[in-house]
């Protein structure tokens, strides 16, 4: 177990190193004009030059990368061109709300997806199965941001039950925090349900054909006891993969959902950075997301050894 984790950590660090090179290359290729924010559009050329020199923009790109990477490893991701504040401060402040939103939405999707997937597999071939899988496909074709807009229109604008926009930190108001999370979490999570349903239904149908299931039925276990007590855990391997993958998808679409609900998270930070040409902020956000993705992949890998005792010996 210990060596497994060390290997995973090592390969995770390697992935992050490669990501940092790709992301920095893109950042170096994009037009970087911090002087506009510091000096205005009509600044004298000498002043522009001195700003660029102080930020190291006139160094060769590999040199720039090394400087940035050495700082980044120590937690210093540079300074925003626009607000002149440390990028890492900005990220630290916004990351929790984005990560909580993604976590809750994946939780919603996983709970719904596993429940519906198991039911569809248990009732396979019946109208229940067809109803569940068809509704799952419908939800899959619905873009989360439209779903979000619809939810806001219905529950906030028309019914007035839940707040339309914004994020309330739990330290300010716990019930306000829950309320501010419900709509965005559903808008973000629901479209993932379909993928989990499909994967889990397929895996369950495969498991339900196995000899050990027939053996359990022959022992007099009930239908749900067989499905939940015998087959589900063995079907969870593929489900864990797809839940992990959907978490990464959610880390992407959360950018859109944050805009729908006007949540000041990492997504809107990155989006504003693109619009303003705030390269250090965009770069820092990309790296933060990549770290989260690497951690999620690591957790999925580790979950296999919990799900399948056989792989424990092999790893």
């Amino acid at each position: 177990m210990f060596t497994t984790i060390t290997t995973r950590l090592f390969s995770g660090a390697l992935v992050l190193a490669i990501v940092s090179i790709i992301a920095f290359t893109l950042a170096a290729l994009s037009p970087r004009h911090p002087e506009i924010y510091k000096l205005g559009a009509d600044a004298p050329i000498e002043a522009v030059q001195s700003v660029r020199t102080s930020l190291g923009l006139d160094l060769p790109v590999p040199q720039q990368y090394l400087n940035w990477a050495l700082d980044a490893v120590r937690g210093d991701l540079g300074t925003s061109y626009v607000s002149d504040t440390p990028v890492s401060d900005e990220i630290k402040q916004r990351a929790p709300r984005t990560l909580i939103l993604v976590f809750v939405s994946v939780l919603v999707a996983a709970l719904l997806g596993v429940t519906i997937g198991v039911l569809a597999a248990v009732y396979q071939g019946t109208w229940i199965d067809r109803l569940l899988t068809t509704s799952a496909s419908m939800v899959q074709a619905t873009p989360g941001f439209w779903l979000g807009i619809l939810l806001v229109t219905l529950f906030s604008v028309m019914l007035g039950w839940l707040p339309a926009t914004g994020y309330v930190p739990p330290t300010v108001s716990f019930s306000g925090w829950i309320q501010s999370l419900i709509l965005p979490a559903f808008a973000l999570g629901l479209p993932s349900t379909a993928a989990i349903v499909r994967q889990l239904r397929g895996a369950m149908v495969g498991e339900l054909k196995q000899d050990y299931v027939r053996s359990a039925i022959a022992q007099g276990y009930g239908r749900m006891q067989v499905a939940l007590g015998q087959a589900l855990r063995n079907a969870m391997g593929p489900a864990a993969t797809v839940i992990g993958f959907q978490t990464i998808v959610k880390l992407s679409t959360v950018v859109v959902i944050e805009k729908v609900f006007a949540i000041d998270g990492l997504g809107s930070l990155a989006l504003n950075a693109v619009f303003r040409g705030d390269t250090p902020v965009l770069l820092g956000t990309v790296m933060t997301f990549a770290i989260v993705v690497v951690i999620v992949n690591m957790l999925v890998d580790l979950s296999y050894s919990w799900i399948s005792p056989k792989s424990r010996g092999a790893a």
Partner: protein, 644 residues
């Protein structure tokens, strides 16, 4: 199944190349393909279908509800929503198709190159691909757009790069597979060029997977393109896009909430059609598995065991005139088991012997209601401890399985749950099905494991199935069966998968347990060797009927049916000059309703015209013995040891 002579009679077909085969339109693809074409036509014909210029503003008539002039009303700038929808769909579809095509065109050659080059270059390249996937797609697209500037062609390119990774994996896999295959090594040997290798072998091989991937990416691409336009990173104003329309609609949702409906609904319809196409494409490549009816038979509720009284002396199992019908999608239903009758008493072992397809397994599985899909009991009765077990309620079926009839299947390792310890699998049924406390169940399990001869039972409880040998696993499964104190134990080829020595030990164990516990054992096997070892009574089945039944000793020592004789000759014997075992030549007939002659006649060396004149009934040459053969026992006895 196909008739052999028919197959031979048909002219030899030329095998279609995999390229044309994979491109042939399958029936399931027609509807999604037509719907997709409708979608494409609407997008292509947008300039002709539109009633207004989609960019024409009319601020005096903004946010109008539907009217004759503006079929779906106007937006916040007074532009015609219907026309904007058509042009929006057109541009969003273009962006989606463009992104997927870019992905395909970048990914396929790169993947083929990586797969063909192999070694270090390939590993490095794939590392790069994997690492790039650690950047969430929208953030990667944002980084690319930060370089190139905001425009839908740029977001299309960025999305295409992300999609290319999917194509890289498929193309690389196929290229690797091709590179390693022997025929390619041979082709290389005779100087076939790499280009030819790619166009003749790799691309046709990878094409089905690549096409499926295109199908899967299309709806995703549509939704992502719309999201990017919503964010302001894709299609730029004043051009129309469904995402940008939604963004504008959201701004005015307080005054005109209905504005969010038309673009969203159209987007969902388009995505549904593309999803439909994707599903049809992947289904045509890999069809979905069919249903499993056994689970549905476990739907009853289980009550605690009632004390079972054995009426009619000690008869545990009585099968009378059993007929089982099996569905056959090609030829219609057929009676796979006909007129089968036998009885089994406490402490007795009855062996049901026959080749595969003889109906022996179907007969035995009908007892606890475990017949496979499409099979059902049509005639006769099965009584367990005097109570009928066919056509009973699901509750009764679960009672039967949990308390009265235990089954041991062929492959013991596969019958144990891979993710539960042996202890969990033995203790849990006792708690769940028998209502024992955990401590009671544990003590009972340890005693049982000792009884079935498993050394160090405490240690075994913590192990998983994959840590056991086949023989040990079979003992665990036997303990599992015994733990429920059944009246009847059905062992379906329970020793066939084991080594000969282990097989012998397990047979001894079953024999002993049967005698000690007064358990009735129904032993299903194809081997006469096993019969002579374990059985008190034997039933020989052929083509769904009993051809011979009687005391095992008698049947083995003096078989009265040529088929029994052939089965006995198939037993390998360790003696000088022993011939290699031969199974009787030919195959059992396929019977729809009833046989019109002796079923074994075509394979029998004693058959004559009288055997083919009509169906043969069970004859009783001696008491307690039945034989479905009109030849006298002494005639049949002459067959012994002779090649049939």
């Amino acid at each position: 199944m196909m008739n052999k002579s028919h197959a031979l009679a048909s002219p030899p077909q030329t095998r279609p190349s995999s390229l044309t085969a994979s491109l042939k339109i399958k029936p399931g693809l027609i509807r999604p393909a037509l719907l997709t074409m409708v979608l494409v036509f609407v997008a292509l014909l947008a300039p002709w279908l539109a009633t207004h210029d989609p960019t024409q503003q009319d601020l005096l008539n903004s946010l109008m509800t539907p009217s004759a002039a503006n079929w779906l009303g106007t937006d916040d700038q007074g532009r015609d929503i219907y026309s904007r929808l058509l042009f929006g769909l057109r541009l969003d579809l273009l962006a989606a198709v463009g992104a997927v095509l870019i992905g395909f065109l970048i990914g396929t050659p790169l993947g083929v190159a990586a797969g063909l080059l192999g070694g270090r270059v390939e590993r490095l390249f794939m590392r790069l691909v994997d690492a790039t996937l650690a950047i969430p797609p929208i953030l990667l697209i944002m980084s690319v757009i930060a370089v190139l500037g905001r425009d839908y062609t740029h977001s299309m390119l960025a999305l295409g790069i992300i999609f290319s990774f999917g194509f890289i994996r498929i193309a690389r896999g196929e290229a690797k597979l091709t590179r390693g295959s022997t025929y390619v090594l041979a082709a290389r040997g005779i100087g076939v060029s790499t280009g030819r290798l790619i166009s003749r072998h790799i691309l046709p091989g990878a094409l089905p997977a690549l096409i499926t991937q295109i199908g899967l990416f299309l709806p995703v691409a549509l939704l992502i393109s719309a999201s990017l336009s919503y964010l302001g990173l894709g299609v730029q104003s004043p051009q129309s896009s469904l995402g940008a329309m939604l963004q504008a609609a959201q701004e005015v949702s307080l005054t005109a909430p209905w504005q969010v409906l038309p673009p969203g609904i159209l987007l969902v319809i388009a995505a549904l059609i593309l999803n439909f196409l994707a599903e049809a494409l992947s289904d045509s490549l890999r069809p979905r598995g069919d249903s499993d009816p056994l689970l549905a038979t476990a739907a009853g509720t289980l009550r605690p065991r009632r004390p079972t009284e054995l009426r009619e002396r000690d008869v545990v199992l009585e099968v009378r005139n059993l007929g089982i019908e099996v569905a056959d999608p090609l030829h219609g239903p057929r009676m796979a088991v006909r007129d089968v009758s036998f009885a089994l008493k406490r402490g007795e072992v009855l062996a049901v012997v026959g080749e595969s397809g003889s109906g022996k397994t179907l007969t035995s599985m009908a007892i606890p209601g475990l017949v496979p899909a499409g099979a059902r009991v049509r005639e006769g009765s099965i009584r367990v401890a005097g109570a009928e077990s066919t056509g009973v309620s699901l509750d009764r079926l679960r009672h039967l399985r949990a308390h009265e009839v235990a089954v041991i299947f062929q492959n013991p390792l596969a019958c144990l749950n891979p993710s539960q310890t042996i202890g969990q699998q033995l203790v849990k049924p006792l708690m769940r099905l028998k209502g024992l406390s955990k401590a009671e169940a544990h003590a009972r399990v340890i005693a049982l494991l000792n009884e079935v001869g498993i050394p160090e039972p405490e240690r075994r409880l913590a192990q998983y199935a994959h840590e056991l040998s086949g023989g040990l696993a079979q003992r665990v499964v036997i303990a599992q069966a015994l733990s429920r104190d059944p009246l009847l134990l059905i062992a379906d080829e329970a020793t066939s998968a084991l080594d000969v020595t282990v097989q012998y030990q397990v047979l001894e164990l079953l024999k002993r347990l049967g005698k000690e516990r007064g358990l009735a054992i129904l032993f299903v096997t194809h081997s006469m060797g096993v019969v002579s070892h374990i059985a008190d009574e034997v039933v020989v089945m052929y083509a769904g009927e009993i051809v011979e039944q009687g005391a095992a000793m008698d049947v083995v020592s003096s078989p009265t049916h040529p088929y029994t004789m052939a089965l006995l000759d198939a037993v390998p014997r360790n003696q000088r000059g022993a011939k290699l075992p031969v199974s009787p030549p030919g195959a059992a007939p396929r019977v729809t309703t009833a046989l019109s002659q002796c079923g074994f006649a075509p394979r029998c060396s004693l058959s004559g015209p009288e055997c083919k004149a009509g169906p043969i009934s069970l004859q009783s040459w001696t008491a307690l013995r039945g034989t479905r053969c009109i030849r006298r026992p002494d005639e049949v006895a002459q067959l012994r040891g002779r090649k049939s």
